[in-house]
Amino acid sequence: MLTKNNPHLMNSHRENLAIELCDVVHTYPNSNNNLASLHFDKWSVDVGQQVFLYGDSGSGKSTLLNLLSGILAPQQGSIKLFGKDISQLSNSARDRFRAENIGVVFQQFNLVPYLTVAKNIELAVYLAKSSRQQLTQSLSELTSALKLPKSLLNTPVANLSVGQQQRVAIMRAFINSPQLLLIDEPTSALDNSAKDAFMTLLLDMCRAHNTTMIFVSHDNTLERFFSLHTPISSFCNGLTKQESN
């Protein structure tokens, strides 16, 4: 269940919540050297839900993903993922939490260009400190699910097509069986048929693994793939500019 500013609903589903945002404020210097702030109201997502967030550029979509992944820490408020308040964690603990629980796919440059497909995936396993046995098993399952030929595993990612790179990025995102998947504008470099195939594949994977997914894009035509969709402006107060010191 996707909730917005509904404390009663949030309390009744608290143990099933994958994401729980509470009055999060993120301040950053903008291009004019002024301080800009983004304010996220109360917002939550249930475990296993796939949510489509859309909005124009600069509306706070990427900032939200950076906050949810723990790359950015909010100045105020709390961000709970599966009951754990990551805004209270140290930087290294947040990095660790991300490696173990969150998979990320973003527009492009998802992969380390000089490594092979296998090495890119192994890197994610290494950083999450997962076992090699799990890697072998998951790799086999994912290559067949994503219809990636095994011969591709030893190919440097720079030699792959954009579509293949995106599928490898999905494979890497799923390799550690993450509870949460964050997706940022992954289809902007794909044509329409590739876009449809990608979305179908991604959603099938999420449903198969019961993975919670936050999918952000400025392209609201993609909302047809989701049962839950909302504009980010519904819980993000937008920019509040202040004079910089």
Binding site: D95, E100, F106, K119, L127
Partner: protein, 411 residues
């Protein structure tokens, strides 16, 4: 895993990495060579003579006398009377005296006139006497005993005949063809200038410089008594008692019938090291400056790639890599280049020493081992790695800044 990633990262930038690697190889090779040659030269010089108490020659610089008498380097400035040698030999403090006469050569190898005492009393290394690999010491007037390197380089065997040339250049226009010498013995290798020396008897040296008609008579009639020399180059002395060294040195220096100078090999050697220390230090400083320049090149190369690596850093971050890990990766790349450059330099120096071994010995009297591994090398390697670590901190800090600013939206 990290090493593998760092390696792949370097391979992906192979052109710039290779140039930086080459620049490091050059600087590290210079440093290793300077250090190795310094240590080996000292060891080589120190093992050249053993048990010699005084060296006596015509007054000149002490170093010059030491160099031409013992190391066959440089030229004698003047001779001393043969009578001075007999006087020294008769001195009760003197246990043995070896006359040395220099000035001729054979195909680039120095010819030394001496007597049979040389083969009995001359010692090298840790009090090791000379020994013959084959044959015997000189017996007849035109017999010669050659060092092992002479035999190997020129392919000589016992019984071969050789012609001595006037002067010490590798090419001479005055050959003593009239009186060829027969190789009667070949010395066992010593790793000292002895290996590069052609030994003949003192009277033979005197004889080959006689007018052709007189020399021909001697060649035709080996039974004839060879002339005793009037002068020789120097004398090596072993004393019965070490306590007599300074007294005898003073007596020799004040000797009225000839102009003589006596030196203690150890003191002259110390002078030599003192003189060499300045050159060594200068070479070391140049070596370290070249290394520093190369390390700056390495840091610049890594720094220059930081902008293009921002996306790569973002990927590492989303996978959960900590800033510390990303900085470690950058430093690891620098260390891999340095370690490989160090190993390659060791191979280059070893190979160069193996190839140039004979040339260094012939031209400079340096007998260098091609085994460059030593405790000093360990210290040098640590310095190189430490310096690499320090200079890699510059791109490392830049990577750290990039990490702090890297976000998912990085394009």
């Amino acid at each position: 895993m990290l090493v593998s990633i760092a390696w792949q990262s370097l391979v992906s930038r192979r052109k710039t990495v290779f140039l930086t690697f080459l620049s490091l190889v050059v600087s590290i090779s210079v440093l290793i060579s300077v250090e190795h040659i310094r240590l080996q030269a000292k060891e080589s010089f120190n093992r050249t003579i053993s048990g010699v108490d005084l060296i006596v020659g015509a007054p000149s610089g002490e170093l010059n006398l030491l160099l031409y008498s013992v190391f066959r380097m440089g030229n004698p400035t003047n001779n001393i009377k043969y009578d001075s040698f007999t006087m020294l030999k008769a001195n009760p403090s003197v246990a043995w005296a070896i006359p040395i006469s220099l000035g001729d050569s054979h195909r680039g190898f120095r010819v030394m006139g001496t007597n049979s005492d040389y083969f009995t009393h001359f010692k090298y290394g840790n009090d090791k006497p000379l020994s013959l690999a084959t044959g015997k010491t000189f017996d007849g007037p035109f017999d010669t005993v050659i060092g092992s390197d002479v035999a190997i380089s020129l392919g000589y065997q016992q019984g071969d005949q050789i012609v001595i040339a006037h002067g010490i250049g590798s090419t001479s226009f005055v050959n003593h063809k009239q009186a060829p010498f027969t190789v009667t013995g070949i010395l066992a290798p010593t790793g000292t200038p002895v290996d590069k020396t052609v030994h003949v008897s003192l009277p033979a040296i005197e004889a080959i410089h006689l007018p052709p008609s007189q020399l021909q008579k001697l060649v035709d009639n080996p039974q004839l008594q060879l002339p005793q020399p009037n002068s020789i180059t120097s004398v090596i002395l072993g004393l019965s008692s070490k306590f007599a060294t300074f007294t005898l040195q003073r007596q020799i220096n004040n000797y009225q019938d000839d102009r003589l100078m006596a030196l203690l090999p150890g003191v002259a050697m110390a002078q030599l090291w003192q003189l060499m220390a300045n050159v060594e230090n200068l070479l070391k400083i140049i070596g370290y400056l070249v290394l520093l320049a190369s390390l700056f090149g390495l840091a610049t190369m890594l720094l220059a790639t930081m902008n293009e690596r921002q996306r790569e850093i973002a990927v590492f971050r989303i996978l959960g890599a900590s800033p510390k890990l990303i900085v470690s990766l950058v430093i690891l790349e620098a260390l891999i280049i340095s370690i490989l450059a160090l190993l390659f330099s060791l191979a280059v120096v070893t190979l160069s020493l193996t190839v140039l071994d004979s040339w260094l010995a012939a031209e400079y009297g340096l007998f260098l081992s091609n085994n460059v591994l030593s405790p000093d090398l360990f210290i040098l390697s640590s310095i190189i790695m430490g310096a690499t670590l320090l200079t890699a901190l510059v791109p490392g800090l830049e990577a750290y800044k990039k990490v702090l600013h890297s976000q998912l939206s990085c394009r």
